[in-house]
């Protein structure tokens, strides 16, 4: 037992020496990025640009690969002067359109000499919401150019962001098909951009029919057909060709079933 005691003391001494050593190196704690809190009613362009700068340096993690000033070691193009360059990058795209596309569809155009490694900024892990993406666009426009600052649109995006609850740990596997369909409707499917449901009471979502009680007037087969071939039977009062026929490839068969189950449950 005496030997065991000595052994334990020796191990304790070595392990805590290492722990002590680690306390002597520069300490850093990495906290989750702070959510930007702005009042939509008093929003100014300067606030938007500042919010964009903060997002770019924290939650967006853009500086992991990009730099502000040109740096030969950076994995992505430098931001300095991008506001002036952006309008000339791709014919047919304005400066804000180009930057927005570069952020959300980064592989659509890759600057020569750089690898196509950037993940979409509006998808995890950065997972920026629409307001944050727009604020970063305005900040980047301010570097050598002028931010557009569409304040009305930005205010609405800010209100929409405030309505979204913090994303909890999803438990999709244990959800019912209708609940999973609701998550897809509000998330991947992007259906909430055009349709109102009890879970998406967004007054701006009036491009397509209100689906709040769609389950009581349409059966599952009709709903499925309308998602896969939206122009086959367009609801009266709505123009044809607005809803894109992309959902057969966008959603997996399981996800499609879940969305149909969700919409069928709305009665």
């Amino acid at each position: 037992m005496q030997v065991i005691g000595r052994l334990v003391l020796f191990v304790a001494a070595v392990t805590f020496f290492y722990a002590w050593f680690v306390t002597k190196i520069p300490q850093s704690e990495s906290l989750p990025p702070e959510e930007i809190k702005l009042d939509p009613e008093t929003l100014t362009c300067a606030q938007v640009v500042e919010a964009g700068r903060k997002t770019l340096t924290s939650k967006g993690q853009c500086l992991v690969c990009h730099s502000i000033e040109p740096d030969p070691k950076a994995r992505g193009p430098a931001f300095s002067g991008v506001g002036a360059r952006a309008a000339k990058r791709r014919p047919g795209l304005t400066a804000p359109e180009y930057i927005y596309q570069s952020m959300t569809q980064p592989q659509a155009f890759v600057v020569e000499g750089y690898p196509p490694i950037m993940p979409p900024a509006n998808k995890p892990p950065a997972d920026l919401n629409e307001f944050e993406v727009s604020a970063v666009v305005d900040y980047l426009l301010s570097l050598g150019g002028s931010p557009t600052c569409e304040l009305d649109r930005l205010k609405e995006l800010l209100r929409a962001a405030a309505r979204e609850a913090p994303k909890p740990a999803v438990d999709m596997a244990s959800l019912s098909p209708a609940d999973r369909g609701r998550e897809i409707f509000l998330g991947k499917g992007t259906c909430m951009a055009c349709h109102i449901t009890p879970h998406n009471p967004n007054p701006q979502a009036i491009v397509g029919p209100d689906l709040s009680k769609v389950g009581s007037r349409r059966d599952a087969d009709f709903i499925r057909k309308s998602i896969l071939d939206p122009n086959a039977d367009v609801t009266e009062g709505y123009p044809p060709g607005v809803m894109p026929p992309i959902f057969a490839s966008l959603l997996t068969p399981e996800e499609l079933n879940d969305v149909v189950a969700y919409l069928s449950s709305l009665r």
């Binding site: 030997v3 000595r6 070595v14 740990a169 399981e254």
Partner: protein, 593 residues
């Protein structure tokens, strides 16, 4: 002996002869303990989840739940690593004993397996504790992971019982099957196949959390195979498999040190001195290829997400890589010191003593370069204090070119120490001695010069070319390790023995060195595990399930160091219990070392 059991168990019991207790009883006890722990844990999870209010997270102080899960998971991982790694080399040593007909190897393999058999229950206990804390503190995440990997849990439980049964049978049938060694070894191989399956299966869960694939944007599983076969799965499998062997060797050498220090007779001291040497040799042999597995894992992480790769190597963790360098340097230094001390027990080793000071100088210089930081996340004050993000003079040594050169020279230095140790009591009698030695020394010197040449050239070429140089440097050193050893074995075949190896005539500090090596390696494993897991940052499942708990942050390095230290210390407290129980199971075998 009466116990409720199947016909198979009773049949096994009748075959038992010299085992510490009946084979059937051993198997039954193993199954019973595992089943009891599993049942109690699941019951506890059920009752706690029923009693406590429904929540996404259940807190245990601020961020305390995360620390508890971290500690328990780390402990279980360490014990599991020993349980799954030690049988790999136990079987290899048994095969060596079988082919060479030397009883010492068979006894050594038996001793390793004995520790595995004793550690089984403690490993199951920590596994049960892990199940409880995970399911109770993070119920939603637990539920999500359960759903994603649903059929694999049943497979895991099945493999767990198979492992328990095979460990018991493999250990307790040792003497009974002495005349059917082939069949016994086959059983050991089967045990390792089951163990490896457990490693691969559990790695799939960890790899999915890190580099998830096979789920939709909403996190719904699309394919079971895809969620298993993610980017980091295979590199993690290889990395952990080899690391488990090194881990098993580290614990075995620590056990040998403990037994050496508490030995009453010279015979005991001699045997455990030899056991410590072999355990340490296994640890180092598995440690050397580990960085390559690490590179493979790192490459796959970069391939999955450049952002994650950059965060791992250059972000918040950059200083921890310096700590890693300090630990690896300590391992090499400790290993060389152990070999030099070991030469003290060999008559004839005096011839090589003059080589030790220059080796020590090379080691110290390389260690210093290996430790030199280059560009780190520094505060403005720190950057001002050193005149930039890296030191104007020392920063030149902190780059990859210098570090790769340093670590390769450290490996070569250690190889030379090992070579002198091997040759210590022998005199070469081969007719081609001069030519052979000339080739060998040219090989070592050539590799050293080549490594340094590429290191210097690395400063003048673009990064993409420089990265490629590390492969050539490692290749040159690997050539020396393989061909040099082969040449040395041929040269010293039938060599004249000039003096005996006096096994057991070692100072106590040599055994503390063994212990130091074991603790350092285990601490390193805890640290690297933290970095691997920490790169997920604020995600439970990277990019799929966000961590919204109060523990969703990376603690200050000092805190993480303290947690790793606590896990290592608690692990050693458990392992001391294993050692204590292990020394009570002995068998008398006459061996000559």
């Amino acid at each position: 002996m009466r116990y409720p059991g199947s016909g198979l168990l009773r049949a096994l019991d009748r075959t038992e002869a010299h085992a510490p207790h009946g084979v059937g009883a051993g198997v039954f006890k193993g199954i019973f303990k595992t089943l009891a722990i599993l049942t109690v844990s699941m019951l506890a999870v059920y009752l706690l989840n029923q009693t406590l209010p429904d929540a996404t997270y259940r807190e245990f102080g601020r961020g305390g739940a995360r620390i508890v899960i971290w500690l328990v998971a780390q402990l279980h991982l360490m014990l599991g690593a020993f349980m799954l790694g030690a049988p790999i080399f136990a079987v290899i040593v048994e095969v060596i004993g079988w082919r060479t007909k030397e009883a010492k190897y068979d006894l050594l393999a038996w001793d390793f397996t004995k520790l595995v058999a004793v550690a089984g229950a403690i490993t199951s206990l920590t596994g049960g504790a892990m199940l409880i804390v995970f399911a109770v503190f993070y119920p939603k995440l637990f539920s999500y992971m359960r759903g994603i990997f649903m059929p694999t849990w049943y497979l895991y439980v099945g493999l767990l019982f198979a492992e328990v049964i095979l460990v018991e049978v493999y250990f307790l049938m040792w003497d009974r099957m002495a005349r059917r060694k082939g069949a016994h070894i086959l059983m050991g191989v089967l045990l390792n196949l089951v163990g490896t399956s457990i490693v691969f299966l559990t790695n799939a869960w960890a790899a999915f959390m890190m580099t998830p694939q096979g789920v939709s944007d909403a996190g719904v599983r699309e394919s079971l195979w895809k969620v298993i076969h993610t980017y980091s799965w295979m590199p993690l499998n290889l990395h952990r498999l080899v690391a488990n062997v090194a881990f098993g060797g580290a614990v075995a050498s620590a056990y040998a040190a403990f037994r050496f220090l508490s030995a009453k007779t010279d015979k005991e001291r001699a045997y455990f001195d030899w056991m410590g040497y072999i355990g340490n040799f296994i640890m180092i042999s598995a440690l050397i290829p580990l960085p390559f597995m690490g590179y493979y894992l790192g490459r796959e992480i970069y391939a999955y997400s450049e952002q994650m790769g950059v965060s791992m190597m250059g972000g918040a963790f950059s200083w921890l890589w310096i700590v890693q360098a300090a630990l690896i340097g300590a391992l090499f230094t400790g290993l060389n010191y152990y070999l030099w001390l070991s030469m003290g027990k060999i008559e004839g080793a005096q011839r090589y003593r003059k080589a030790i000071p220059p080796l020590l100088v090379v080691l110290i210089l390389c260690y210093a370069v290996w430790l030199t930081p280059h560009s780190l996340v520094a505060s403005l004050e720190e950057a001002r204090a050193i005149g930039g993000t890296h030191h104007p003079v020392l920063g030149v040594l902190g780059v990859m070119s210098a570090k790769n050169t340093a670590v390769n020279l450290m490996i070569l230095t250690t190889y030379l120490s090992f070579l002198f140790y091997r040759r210590a009591n022998k005199e070469c009698t081969a007719s081609w001695k001069s030519v052979g030695n000339g080739v060998l020394w040219s090989l070592v010197a050539g590799a050293a010069v080549y490594v340094i040449y590429l290191g210097v050239k690395g400063y003048f070429v673009p990064a993409i070319v420089r990265i490629g140089y590390s492969v050539y440097q490692v290749g040159a050193v690997a050539c020396v390790l393989i061909f040099g050893t082969l040449l040395d074995v041929l040269l010293y075949r039938g060599a004249k023995v000039v003096g005996p190896i006096r096994w057991g005539r070692m100072p106590a500090r040599s055994q503390y060195t063994l212990l130091f090596l074991a603790v350092s390696f285990i601490w390193l494993m805890g640290l690297m595990g933290y970095i691997r897991s920490g790169v997920r940052q604020f995600w439970h499942v990277y990019g799929v399930v966000k961590d919204t708990s109060s523990g969703a942050y990376l603690p200050a390095h000092g805190v993480s160091g303290m947690i790793v230290s606590s896990a290592v210390l608690i692990f050693f407290l458990f392992i001391c219990l294993v050692f204590y129980l292990g020394q009570k199971i002995e068998k008398k075998v006459e061996i000559s070392l």
